[in-house]
Symmetry: C2
Subunit: 143 residues, 2 copies
């Protein structure tokens, strides 16, 4: 991607693994003063996602995403090993396949992620960081 073909548009969100999104959201809202701009269940990952932003943020702002796992999976395994906490970074890109075709990164599979957008987690962890890509435009209407 360093040839300029398809750099990310922005840092889309930071994912925080939590066992109780309501409790976690309450701290960010009641104590820190953020607001909830989304709350959804994502079937492909069996997680609840709650999005937090500063009041008055534009729609394309970087969000704090609370991720509450319901079943087994990468987020549940993370919490079991590390406890609740920062889990991943996600960058917004126009087209995932264009990025993967660049050859610099690889992913296990593309799935229908939050807000009706295609997403994937990269196979490589850079400096220990789990990195996700999500597309800038939804492919199905977000619930």
């Amino acid at each position: 991607m360093h040839d300029g073909t398809a750099p990310p548009r922005r840092l889309d969100h930071v994912g925080i693994a939590t066992l109780d999104a309501d409790r976690s959201a309450a701290w960010y809202v009641d104590v820190l003063g953020l607001v909830v701009m989304g709350d959804e269940y994502v079937q492909a990952a069996d997680v609840r996602l709650v999005y937090l932003v500063a009041p008055g943020s534009p729609p394309d702002v970087t969000t704090v995403q609370l991720v509450q796992p319901f079943g087994p999976g990468m987020v549940r395994r993370f919490v079991d090993s590390n406890g609740e906490g920062l889990h991943h970074l996600c960058f917004a890109v126009d087209n995932i396949e264009a990025v993967l075709a660049g050859g610099g990164v690889d992913s296990e599979h593309v799935f229908l992620g939050g807000r009706g957008r295609r997403a994937c987690f990269l196979s490589e962890r850079a400096s220990g960081v789990v990195v996700e890509l999500t597309e800038t435009m939804p492919v199905v209407a977000p619930r």
Copy 2:
């Protein structure tokens, strides 16, 4: 702060602890396509900070901040315990004392952080996340 006195302006940056900021930055630049928008040494924390953003980002965008510790301290201890990886979230606020006076959060001390801005780490970890506050405007000229 939930009374609306001083909510954050935005998520300022996400801090990644690394033992080699050059190596970490190279992945985000060469593989992912981000660009470096800052590189500085912060005396108060004895760390090097490298800021990464998507190409063409506005000045107030949320950044990825690589944090390379030189001496002992919280970041070095984090790496020793957890390895490199996501370390903290930082929210931009107009005035740190106004936030702390709200009573919802407490901090150990305020220091001169990155980009010439006053900053503090909150004493409380919400869902395991280390949270920093930094002021929106620098108090000394950034180097």
